[in-house]
Amino acid sequence: MKLKLRIWRQESSGCKGRMVEYEVDNISENSSFLEMMDLLNEDLVSEGKEAVAFDHDCREGICGSCSLTINGIPHGPQKATTACQLHMRHFDDGQTISIEPWNARPFPVIKDLVVNRSAFDKIIQSGGYISVRAGSAQDANAIPIPKQDADFAMDAAACIGCGACVAACKNASAMLFTSAKVSQLNTLPQGKPEKDRRVLNMVKTMDQAGFGNCTNYGECEAVCPKEISLDMIAKMNRDYAVASVKNFFGTVA
């Protein structure tokens, strides 16, 4: 396959970025999108030019490192597929493909297609955990958890934290990510004691990081490689409403 690529190049966070055109040839239909990028880079490097920087690691759709907006859609056109799992057979010979970094103010570009997603870590640090010291846990079967709840928690927990939800949202809202964590922990009995604090604090951190507000577009859900559902957001909204009321009356611990 022969392809025309339009790639966002940016020296560093302070610099201005722009789209630069490249051409690649002899791309196998069976190679993955990132392997296509590898080949482009190999060409660039052998000419002594700087390779296009992009984040990637596991290349099997689970670490959440890869973060390319392909033709305007985070992770590209294939549903429930990360960029690293996207294969070139889904593109046409001769096609022009634009490749850009996640686009959101709280995710500043570090270089080319690499962005800084540490805002997500901050959100987790503000409450995305259950406080339990190593060694202090009771027997794992002491609290039965209805399968339905366990399954719902697992649906939420499948989030790989890639940030595609933010990148796809026209408001750069981080609701899907935040709500996935809140929903996982708030659904489980183990997470109940910290339920209200958790949701209040995580939403606060999310707001402070400068993410936009949710207007229920649902784009996040549509691009999510793990198909996390908007139900998580609804659950978080519900928990937040309850926690706000409790907080108003001064009854949140």
């Binding site: 339009r6 966002w8 789209m19 907006t69 033709n71 305007g72 859609i73 634009s98 850009e100 686009n103 959101a104 103010r105 709280p106 796809a168 949202c169 026209k170 408001n171 750069a172 809202s173 939403v203 606060k204 999310m206 707001d207 402070q208 400068g210 993410f211 936009g212 507000n213 949710c214 207007t215 229920n216 577009y217 649902g218 784009e219 859900e221 549509a222 691009v223 559902s229 908007l230 139900d231 957001i233 609804a234 659950k235 978080m236 909204n237 519900r238 928990d239 937040y240 409403a241 706000s244």
Partner: protein
């Protein structure tokens, strides 16, 4: 955002306010529409309705108005805040901005909202205050003799005539229908979205609520748009029995001392 602004409410609280004010406004819109539809029952019905409405005690009347104003105010204030913040959070557009599943109406909420707002303002000036230049109906429309059940007759403002007269204007009708179309769009997303915002929606109910929202929005559109369309198609027309020549002739209108209001 944290320390600088003292009225710091969280993104979700803003959303809650949007949703709550949104649903109250929706409630008003429904009631308003049902009231308006009485125009199809003839001048007696609608004029009686208007009369009764306006005979409500002043504090009820003004209470309702002020709370509506407050509702609209809060709704708009939040909409403006949210929209500005959202624009700031997304520094640029993608090379070819793509959309996967977000509906057109969801993406145009601020725009549809704004046009609806401008409509509301016009609408109040037009039919409530009746101060739009050239359409000062208080001066132009003769009063209506309303017969009550007990046989008494009162001279009241002729809302029916005003509606027919108002919508005979091509521009007014067009703007009205357009705005109702946009309101319909606004609500086709907003009505279901509101359940999501308040955490009252899930996978099973989302498609159902989406459909209900679309149907309700369409119903509202049809309900409102039916009136100007009927005026144009002649289904609704000036009542012959009410002597009334043309807008240009200045008439002495006996207002019966009612605060001259439309169907509000």
């Amino acid at each position: 955002m944290s320390s600088k602004s003292c009225i710091c409410i969280s993104s979700l609280q803003k959303k809650f306010l949007m949703a709550i004010t949104g649903v109250l406004l929706f409630g008003f819109v429904i009631v308003h529409m049902l009231g308006n539809l009485q125009v199809f029952l003839g001048p007696d019905a609608i004029n009686l309705y208007a009369y009764k409405l306006h005979s409500l005690p002043a504090f009820v009347m003004w209470g309702a108005r002020l709370s509506l104003l407050l509702m609209v105010g809060v709704h708009i204030l939040m909409a403006v805040k949210l929209t500005i913040e959202n624009k700031k959070s997304r520094p640029r557009e993608y090379d070819n901005e793509g959309t996967v599943q977000a509906s057109y109406s969801s993406r145009t909420m601020p725009m549809t909202g704004l046009i609806v707002l401008s409509f509301i303002i016009f609408h109040i000036l037009h039919y409530t205050s009746r101060v739009v230049p050239g359409m000062e109906y208080d001066d132009k429309i003769p009063s209506y003799s309303l017969e009550f059940e007990d046989g008494s007759v009162k001279q009241v403002f002729d809302v029916y005539a005003m509606i027919v007269e108002g919508f005979s204007n091509y521009f007014v009708s067009f703007f009205y229908i357009l705005s109702m179309g946009l309101l319909c769009m606004h609500l086709s997303h907003g009505l279901s979205s509101m359940f999501q915002t308040l955490g009252l929606r899930n996978k099973v109910w989302r498609p159902r609520l989406n459909n209900v929202a679309r149907a309700t929005a369409l119903f509202i559109f049809i309900g409102f748009a039916a009136i100007p369309i009927s005026v144009f198609s002649g289904v609704l027309h000036h009542n012959d029995s009410n002597t009334y020549s043309s807008l240009n002739s200045v008439n002495d209108v006996q207002n019966d001392n009612i605060t001259s209001e439309g169907t509000q």
